[in-house]
Symmetry: C2
Subunit: 334 residues, 2 copies
């Protein structure tokens, strides 16, 4: 077996209480004692058992993070930010892949409770009532990322999706586009689907551009659906000059389908994406997009959560700023 505090105590000829004190820098021992203890620790290669500690402290220094899809570029950027900050503050992170399914999410929530995590980060999904109740009963803080809830007391980290979408469309308008299509997200997604669509409509209205419903199609945020959406638009609204896609993946799908149809971007068609994934800079031509600082958002969420854990204060929601990254998929119409 690995050595325990008992072995250290024996070797250093002190009580386990004293060993615990020097381990935790609590003071209340002579320098000589401290040295003897530290020596024993070194000699035995002793490492404290965080499980035993957790049991008594009721703190596990562990965060649970829930994603609908860990392997998406979107989630993993956030995860990176979370993990990095958590680690710097001596917390570990337990990842959970919910597949966006209610049943799986609930199972994970139970699990996180059993494992006594100190806090939860919940990303990119609607916080359903059932989830909320469960988390509430766990009596630990939670922070939402790129999401929101009906419960005002729940802190979140997100961009202003509506404003960001509006900015994207205005960017197009300012470059002379009037026939602007949108590939929106999933039809009844209130999280990011609806606000981004809203932003689109709002920008058009603001500039008194009539809304043509042929110009609005829906995808599911993924690549394939972007390809399909372009096919649809080409059939029903071939006069468009620009497309605003509600995700980079869909925008890249447009690029891909456009190339198959012999359409040149941006000469024949301008495209602006949404998210600012690393991906968006790797495609040809590099994608102009509305970027959200995902890694930073992960960091902020972790920071907020840890503060809340350690102080007991309930945190506020935070809106971080988006930015338009100008690359080469939007042409100015003259």
């Amino acid at each position: 077996m690995n050595p325990t505090i008992k072995d250290v105590a024996k070797m250093a000829n002190v009580s386990i209480a004293t060993v615990s004190r020097v381990l935790n820098n609590l003071g209340g021992y002579s320098d000589k004692t401290k040295q003897r203890v530290n020596e024993a620790i070194r000699e035995l290669g002793y490492q404290p058992n965080a499980i035993a500690r957790g049991l008594i402290n009721k703190r596990t220094q562990t965060l649970g993070v829930l994603f609908p899809n860990v392997s998406s570029s979107f989630s993993s950027d956030i995860l990176q930010g979370v993990e990095d900050f958590a680690h710097s503050r001596n917390y570990s992170v337990l990842v959970c892949n919910t597949d966006g399914e209610e049943k799986r999410t609930m199972k994970y929530l139970q699990l996180l409770r059993e494992k006594q995590v100190d806090g939860i980060i919940f990303s990119s999904s609607m916080l359903k009532d059932e989830y909320y109740e469960t988390i509430k009963s766990m009596k630990i803080p939670v922070v939402l990322i790129s999401s929101q809830s009906n419960y005002p007391a729940i802190p979140y980290v997100t961009i202003n999706d509506r404003l960001a979408a509006c900015d994207a469309v205005e960017y197009l308008i300012n470059r002379g586009h009037r026939k602007i299509a949108m590939i929106a997200g999933t039809e009844n997604d209130v999280l990011t689907g609806a606000p981004r669509m809203d932003g689109y409509l709002r920008a058009l209205r603001k500039h008194r551009i009539p809304i043509d419903e042929r110009y609005l199609v829906h995808g599911d945020f993924r690549f394939e659906s972007g390809c399909k959406a372009l096919e649809t638009l080409l059939r029903t609204a071939p006069d468009i000059t620009a497309i605003f896609a509600a995700s980079d993946e869909m925008a890249i799908g447009v690029l891909s389908a456009a190339s198959r149809h012999g359409l040149k971007v941006p000469d024949d068609l301008s495209v602006i994406g949404f998210d600012g994934l690393q991906l968006s800079n790797m495609v040809v031509p590099p994608l102009t997009t509305v970027s959200q600082p995902l890694q930073e958002m992960g960091k902020i969420a972790a920071e907020t959560l840890i503060r809340s854990i350690e102080t007991g204060e309930t945190a506020e929601g935070i809106i971080v700023s988006h930015s338009i990254v100008e690359r080469q998929t939007v042409r100015t119409l003259t």
Copy 2:
């Protein structure tokens, strides 16, 4: 406080031992007792405390997974596979982002020890002696992914990089290419850098194609380095007809740089990548590549690790098969 086994015992009017028995389905109680206990559990909303359990069972049902970079597409595909399988077997996963740094890796290893994880998955980095010693002293199993070690007893899950690279180059040769450049990985990376380079050289030799050292340049597996590598090749070896890149990201960098130079792929230049990231199917034109089943590899690693944890058997290394995914970046020379 959340209810404990004590509260359940009190409410059901039995001892905590009995509650523990029904909780763990150990038998040795009457049906009536079982019902009373279960009712109390339901009524109190009792959930066992995994930390207390872990302390006594010396099992935490937790796996530690170390990646040099969690947010890379490569790592997150693996993570997905690991997480999914682990979850199906009731294990959680703790993610660690080492940045490929020795210091950080060691710190994580300590952490995983303190947190008493049951096993470790170590991905995409060389298992240094120091790491090996630490893990060995933890007395828990470890499985390597896309990596290897000098220690024969350490199981791994990987493709045969040399063979895969050889296949990629032969694919090019079979399509009439003779002037084939390679963008290799980091110069002294023995893990995947060297074997892939080896495969390249071997394929050329096998087909009696003279080796031209201008044709071999190095990148660091990332996108940017692929762009730069093409620049270099264009200067020093403009006569090449095809490029084998040791990673999809670098291959995509080639696509990007090629487009900037007005070079058409595959008309002016053929490109084959390596990894089979989802990314490779999203670019224009879709990238032909040697695919490794990353998610599957994650799954197998988790499976192997858990078997080893639960049976105590030491596992064997596993070579999974790669495959060439034909898309549109390689042209047949006539």
